[in-house]
Amino acid sequence: MLSTIEPQSTVRTQPQGWSHLDALEAESIFILREVAAECTNVALLFSGGKDSAVVLRLAERAFYPERVPFTLLHIDTEHNFPEVIEFRDRMAHERGLRLVVRSVGDSIRNGRVRLRKADESRNPHQSVTLLDAIAEFGFDACIGGARRDEEKARAKERVFSFRDEFGQWDPKNQRPELWSLYNGRVRPGENIRVFPISNWTELDVWQYIRREGIELPSIYFAHRRAVVRRGSALVPVTELTPPHADESVEELSVRFRTVGDITCTAPVESAADAIEKIIAETAAATLTERGATRLDDQTSEASMEQRKKEGYF
């Protein structure tokens, strides 16, 4: 991609002394303040991934000096990288924020989720656990770090996206959303999903992480890891994802571009062990974030839309 890397200096060349990151940040802060003002019980979906780390930082900046007035919520598939879980817990603790974790494993054990086969990815089943958590805590708004550049169904979604009492998204009948006048009105049982970084790209996220010095789980940076090559993807060798009999295990220098469920998140080969190098690689990337790293979106053209309609983030 022909994106340019911004100079590090803080000298701003825009007419208003205003860079594109300033514009994106201001828009996100406005959105976060709007949710806090219009909704009464708000969850911020926090997985420990880079997008949720950016949203958390934006929230801190939006409400400063007040503590972020949201509950952190993680829908845990129990298939997470330990570095990410450690990071998630530490972030919440350091900020004095309430962290609620609800597990897809519990949903499976209590029969709310039925797997077709034991080793299938738990990722799509997060919807059930999420909707149950929303009902349990009575959240009227849930903030997510999804971006429109990630996927073509996401590209269609409003910033304030309405969900009916079944948690469903009706993409053919979204509320018009003009200017920055967001309509967050819901009735009991309904909720609003809010996407404050809708308009950010992967490169924007990395540039902002650099600018703000945002801490991330270590697996975002290049490290040695045992992997196998499966199709066009690298699959990390873990207890959950053992190598097939005919596969040979290699140890490569890799990093993760996303850090979701272990069973459906693939690392990319990379020597980028520092943020500068990641930004350079992102600017020169020839594959999209999901194309390179997600094993679950490629099943059909509409798998994301289908999952979103069912309540997925």
Binding site: P15, F63, R67, K156, P176, T288, E301
Partner: protein, 435 residues
Amino acid sequence: MSARELLPEAQLEDHGLLRFLTCGSVDDGKSTLIGRLLLDSKGLLADQITGLEAASRRRGLPEIDLSLLTDGLLAEREQGITIDVAYRYFATPARKFIIGDSPGHAQYTRNMVTAASTADVAVLLVDARHGLQPQTRRHAYLARWVGIPRVVLAVNKIDLVDDARGAFERIRTQFHQFATGLGFAEVREIPLSALRGDMVVERGDVLRWYRGPTLLQYLESAPARHDEQAQPLRFPVQRVVRVAGGNAQPGSGYEIGEFRGYQGTIASGRVHLGDAVVALPAGTRAHVTEILTPDGPLQQAGADMAVTLRLDTQIDLSRGDLLAAEDALPYHGQDIAAEVCWFDGEPLVPERPYLIKHGCATVRARFAALDHRIDVDSLRLVERPQTLHMNDIARVQLRAQHPLAVDPYTSNRTTGAFIIIDEATNRTVAAGTVR
């Protein structure tokens, strides 16, 4: 040689962010144009192109169908139409772009307006074989109504007409006559073929008679809207922040004592330390004692910045109120003259109260009078409509339950805009601009 290499170096400076939308009648090639723009400006990555090829093959198409890139919903691909706006992001060395690809069907006009409300430039497509359509005029009108200063009429499918130059000139003249009445700051016509790629990013070799910029060249150099700085200060209070009794951010330095401030985004103008401001609608006066950001206090701040203001006196000020420059107050009152566009399938019931969301204020209001409906084809006014149906645009008088501080939309896009919500359904049923 690509078009970009032809650009003089001086134009390659960073022009920041430009938001534009593609609009126009159905089947005029909006989604294809965006696909072409992304493909030829190298804004598509390898797996997106592979996916596009596979999707096109599944549909039995001989070549890749660029429109499949933005038509992201099942129903859209099924029907081959665009239902809702798709947002796309790409960058060239000169600029970052946010594109809103909007639907052409009249039924989904509200989604076009959604994309238009934040755009700096409208790229209005017209099929060279068919010329201006009612929906072309409607979209031109709506683009102007939401205050987009610049419109590009992209005369598409120019490769499919025999006398390309003659057709282009005819449509251009026709559009100029129509658009002159609307008052755009700039109207620009470009002949192109989204399918073949001529005059989108590359110049191609068949439109040699056309000497103007390609679409991308135009978009790389068109000014983004930055007109809010020159206006008087308007600061809608989004949120009152109170820190006391342990709800300070750890490490913020406010763990002890009390803090009270007003959070919001400056809609227009600048605020300096010590400035006298007036809180509306109450009319009380105060001075700004602190402009706070997480990076520390500022001496001054300008439009679009999200800040926290503190004042020297404890006045009654809450979410939905407005801080304004003492020497340039907006109108504040309950009677508001506006132009509204009705979006909802259910027509307006003039006897019912609706909710108005204006800035950070939400108040009840009723339609005191429906003055005119605007026929967007002829731009003629139709007197005293009985009601408003989907896509109707009308000049109306509103009576709000509480006073609102408003500016004409032409001078302020934040304090001059509102949406209308039906309390029974919570749907956004209309949007309005203050006259």
